[in-house]
Amino acid sequence: MRTVIFILQKEFRQVFRDKLMLPIIFIVPVVQLLILSYTATFEIKNTRIVIVDLDHSQRSRELVFHFESSSFFKIVSRQQNYQLASEWLKNGDADQVIVIGADFEKAIEANQSAKILLVTDAINGSAASLMNAYAQQVIQGFNKNILTEKMPFTTNKGTLSAEPLFWYNPKLNYVTYMVPGILVLLVTIIGFFLSGMNIVKEKEMGTIEQINVTPIKKWQFITGKLLPFWLIALFELVFGLGIAKLVFDIPFLGSFPLLMGVAAVYLLVILAMGLLVSTLSDTMQQSMFISWFFLVIFILMSGLFTPIESMPAWAQWFNKINPIAYFITINRMIMLKGSDFFDFSELFYALSGYAVVMLLLAVNRYKKVKA
């Protein structure tokens, strides 16, 4: 144990002597939280539309007015025909084109179905379906007005209506959804890179040989290497949670100690993985590329941006070995739903098993004697 303390002392000295370390620990999380939380959003505001009004009637102007007054839409141009309007889509200057047919008013007055063409730039599929849905809603609203106007005494104004209730995030605030996930990314990236660069740095400097001729034990070495980053990453999480509360006013319904407990186990997985990469690579460059390779896959598949449930079966299966997916799920449950341990105990046990396996691998792969 004394040996471990000497290693700890040395590691902490080195970490904090590095002039870039304090900015990395304090400024990077703030910037990442602020930028990612506001920009990594699927909320659609200011959809840019081009109107092609072939009817030039009272009714068609009413419909355009409906779009104008919606906060989701911004009319960027009016064109004479569809050909010209589609150029706007092509150049990326507009997201949607709305073409109002020539006999629009006539059809309405005759109680026939009037035609509107709605063209959406669907390169980003989920954004396109949202824009489409919003536009449909505006058109529905317009439709309802006409019905009221034409048949004021009918009580049967349509159809079934369901009253929606949104639980856990009642305002459908995207930031509320994103921040717990981004917090996970933050501690993961800090932990993975600090540990992933560490042993390989000693290899590059040549100091690892000096360590390997000492009677140090493998577990002492790995513990001494792991603990400092574990503490730094846990601190980072607390710091990030503080910002989430202060800046975004993200609700924290669950238990704070419970979250820290899960984070403690989760970080063991991440740090052990980092150390494993570090023991396997010979240069910092190698370690960097391997770390990024795994992190990018883990992050993209983690359910941070898109729900895991809507991924293909193989991806869902893959996420059983994706530590980031576990912690994002649990973190959202604790922070937003106030879940207690029994709500996610299975996930926690899986994560614990994972930690044990990774630690054993890391200790095992660190070799004092070369063949």
């Binding site: 002392q9 100091t207 009677p215 004092k368």
Partner: protein
């Protein structure tokens, strides 16, 4: 006297390449043993095996009475090592480096303080103890690395080209350190390719292409080859095998 290093038919192969070809030699306590050879002769390979950094392909090797195959951790308690590549932490101060290595070898904080003080005052370097290593000239760094290697009072110290890239005056001072350490009973196992340094050794072995071609005191070797310096002995041996 019982040898402190015993090597019998040591072979180390990397694939088909034979780096050490059945070496046999013994080193006795308190001896300064020079392990000479041209670049690539296999010196560093042997030193790494003796230190337990690399495992031999075959042969019998024991250091400080322990077997390298089964007792490499006990060996490590009893040896010091200074590698070719400078291996103290550049971003730590002298004191912090001593503290770290002393700690790993299980010295108490008090012992670490005392020995750091003794070793640094021997170098007349006590005033610089809080200096970060990055800012210290190369020659001094080598002397510090040597001091760290003997801090835990090992039975044997392995020095792999300890004076590489160092000016002649510092090299002399370095050898004075080595003598002092040997005088206190520590066995010194040193590789070098400065032949003037070979003259300082009690016995030398000269390695050519993975084999030991000569092993004796510098005086005997010079007589044997009928030359005046170790340099000529070395050149003759190296030429003979070409």
């Amino acid at each position: 006297m019982k040898p402190v290093i015993e090597v019998e038919n040591l072979v180390k192969k990397f694939g088909n390449f034979v780096a050490n070809d059945s070496l046999t030699f013994s080193v006795f306590p308190g001896e300064i043993f020079g392990f000479l050879g041209a670049n690539g002769a296999g010196k560093t390979t042997t030193i790494k095996i003796l230190c337990g950094l690399s495992s031999p392909t075959s042969g019998k090797v024991s250091v400080a009475g322990f077997d390298v195959y089964r007792q490499s951790e006990q060996i490590k308690r009893n040896i010091g090592y200074m590698s070719q590549k400078f291996s103290l932490y550049e971003d730590l101060s002298i004191n912090e480096n001593f503290q770290f290595y002393g700690g790993i070898y299980g010295l108490s904080r008090k012992e670490i303080r005392e020995r750091t003080k003794t070793l640094l005052s021997r170098l007349d370097f006590l005033k610089a103890q809080n200096e970060v290593l990055r800012n210290i000239p190369q020659g001094w760094k080598q002397k510090l690395a040597f001091s760290v290697a003997v801090m835990h009072q090992p039975k044997v110290v392995f020095l792999d080209e300890p004076t590489g890239g160092v000016d002649p005056i510092t090299r002399r001072q370095f050898w004075e350190l080595i003598y002092e350490q040997a005088h206190n009973g520590t066995t010194i196992f040193v590789t070098t390719h400065y032949m003037d340094e070979a003259e300082y050794c009690g016995r030398v072995s000269i390695m050519v292409d993975g084999r030991i071609e000569a092993l004796d005191s510098p005086k005997v070797l010079k007589n044997q080859f009928a030359v005046n310096s170790m340099n000529e002995v070395f050149v003759k041996l190296a030429r003979a095998t070409k």
